[in-house]
């Protein structure tokens, strides 16, 4: 079980983004096309937003 748990930060963030995007696309939209559209927007926003924040934080020491 432990071996199956990913410890890669980007992978964990991507899984999180996938789950959250799926949830809100289902909750907020009706119709297949609208749902896929919102899913794409949310997924891209979460992933690119996460990378942007990581990039901004890069100069700061841990």
């Amino acid at each position: 079980m432990i071996a199956l748990v990913p410890v890669d930060h980007f992978l964990i963030m991507t899984i999180y983004a996938l789950l959250v995007s799926s949830f809100f696309a289902l909750l907020w939209r009706e119709g297949k096309r609208e749902r896929w559209r919102l899913f794409g927007i949310l997924l891209a926003s979460l992933l690119l937003g996460g990378l942007a924040v990581a990039w901004l934080m890069y100069p700061f020491p841990s």
Binding site: M1, Y16, S22, L26
Partner: protein, 130 residues
Amino acid sequence: MNGVCAPAKRRPLLAAALAWFFPGLGHLYLGRRRTALFYTAIVLVTFLLGLSFEGRLYSPDRSQPLTFLATFALFGAGLPNILARLFSENPAGVILAVTYEYGCAYLLTAGLMNLLLILDAWDIAVGRKP
């Protein structure tokens, strides 16, 4: 398309209670089988990943007021949260684990998602949402 079966009138309180008890159950009661299945899968996967990431099952702590909100969010997950508290070897999580913070975020998100599902089930049952 949405798995809507019967537009029969349903009791909002029961729909909300079922939605709290187990993710997706409220929507199943409302006849939305397909969306119920998706909701169950999404919330359960999020919650179980949170547990496997060794996140913390928050309990109220007076010295840390935000734990009250976190506990409320987690109890939104209903039965999975209760079972996790009963059977988890380490409900406080493993703070030294690399994935601890992720685990907390996943667990809290699962609870908050189910709280939204409770409101959604209520809205559908009272006819506010088609």
